[in-house]
Symmetry: C2
Subunit: 315 residues, 2 copies
């Protein structure tokens, strides 16, 4: 009876759970979460909180493996966070070593949170039976992962895949942008602000207090033409990112998660139209290619457990 | 003693060769080539020529497998050329079935020529020992292939990877272009013509007869400032394509072949500068990441033999 401790280190929350291997699946035994304050607290303080919340879910029992999901780029081979854009001060933090010391001799594995969500969606969610399978999460930023031959494709040093870092030149200013600067929730907020400062337009957003991805989404859902056009533009950029991913990986399925995906067709229809327009050959595009991710916020936690089970050979 | 017949169907030449398996490598026994005239002759006439040249290299001996390299997109599972931009009229041609009938009962395999060149460079050339390995060929168009876990990564339906079909928006006109419309040999010629028609400039090319990738290359090598700037721009677009490939695949090595790569630093330095500028983290960029391909024109032929050997399990 293999027991696995999974930890998901996010910018605003730390979550921990204990899973029991159950045939091909995982049985969630206990879970807990805490605010991480990782953006403001010291690295040491956050690591203490990780250890505390982990001990909270581990009862008086032996754990066989630990899996940790964290924002990248990180080095899963050495267990070091290289640099986390969402966690200032976390450059070069040897997280596996530190957590490993707290749980003496338990094999501990670190992996990019979006990669682990991809693994979870492939094993338990929207990617079941699809290979290659791509997962994309569109929220504050854009992340993702690729599954190939049933395993995570993470490249030479474990840094792949970073779909949010696909680069485009924007025709407005000729500058180079990351996909996540064009199509994420933060991007939707930022472009709305930028356009409102430049354009003469009517919009609910003009009188709104805070303009961010969420308020733009609400305005669009209320039928605000300006907000709709901002989201359409973001969706079209996302579609162009999808076109590139489809031509490079020829995936059997792509699952899209994250807060922005909850805008549904407002965001996804413009993306679909761009995909259909620019795809090289219809064979690249089976009818069920694009799907909504199934596991929600828990994907990273489940993925961490699945990954630790795979890496520790707890089959 | 396994014997393999390899065929490389190009737009201007058809090549055939017989290889003998020799431990891990391949021994070239005999080879021949003919003009293909595939752009002007009927499909039937070209297939007859393929069969003739194949029979020419096969002596009075039994062949164990046949590998065919052809331009894509093609379906390697069914052995059908879906559409070949360089071979008009070849939509839906069941090449494996037709060639298979000519060589009764010999297992025959079809694969994208750039994918096979990638396999050959990985096994025998610039990609030895590198995994993931990416191969890019920059000539009339841009093609490429990905090796992962020692095998060709060709996606769900065998359509991956098509790096020439990475899409960008050009800031000049706001239109969507394929990477091969921005950075291939044909693109270099086309952009030189377009810019000469619009700009007031001094250039050797103004008095040149035909302006194509080759004449622009010659002018650049002679120090022509305008030609140099056209090639620099193409190199920068190619660099942006590389940035995207590096972030998605985190390759251990990328080998670059094709006629345009022979321009060397004129084309590759601008690409390298863009890569260094936009790479997310230095870990993505080991010092020997970018290399020149080693096998030249024969990569497709060797790759076809290697692929047939793998697929037919002639290990």
């Amino acid at each position: 009876m293999a027991l696995i401790l999974a930890i998901d280190l996010g910018g605003t929350r730390i979550r921990a759970a204990v899973f029991e291997r159950e045939n091909d699946s995982l049985l969630l035994l206990r879970r807990a979460e805490t605010l991480s304050r990782a953006r403001v607290d010291s690295v040491e303080a956050v690591i203490t909180r990780i250890t505390e919340i982990a001990r909270e879910v581990v009862a008086d029992e032996a754990i066989d493996a630990i899996g940790i999901a964290a924002p990248g780029p990180l080095d899963p081979r050495s267990g070091v966070i290289l640099r986390a854009d969402t966690l200032p001060g976390w450059d070069g933090v040897p997280l596996v070593q530190t957590i490993g010391e707290a749980f003496a001799s338990v094999p501990t594995y670190l992996q990019n949170d979006a990669n682990l969500a991809a693994l979870a969606e492939y094993s338990l969610g929207a990617g079941k039976g699809a290979d290659p399978f791509l997962y994309l999460t569109v929220s504050t930023g854009i992340g993702g992962g690729v599954i190939h031959d049933g395993k995570l494709f993470d490249g030479d040093k474990g840094l792949a895949a970073e779909p949010g870092h696909i680069r485009f030149i924007h025709p407005n200013d000729g500058k180079v942008y990351r996909l996540e600067e064009l199509a994420s929730g933060s991007a939707i907020g930022a472009w709305a602000k930028r356009r409102l400062a430049q354009e003469t337009t009517r919009s609910l957003l003009i009188t709104a207090g805070e303009i961010d991805g969420q308020t733009v989404g609400w305005a669009a859902q209320a039928g605000d033409t300006f907000a709709l056009s901002v989201i359409q533009e973001a969706g079209e950029w996302f579609g162009l990112g999808l076109v590139n991913l489809i031509h490079l990986f020829n995936p059997q399925r792509i699952a899209i998660g994250g807060g922005v995906s909850q805008l549904g067709d407002l965001f996804l229809n413009p993306a679909r139209q761009v995909v259909e327009r620019y795809i090289l050959h219809p064979q690249f595009h089976p009818p069920d290619l694009l799907q909504i991710a199934a596991l929600g916020d828990d994907a990273g936690l489940y993925g961490a457990a699945l990954y630790a089970r795979q890496q520790a050979n707890l089959t």
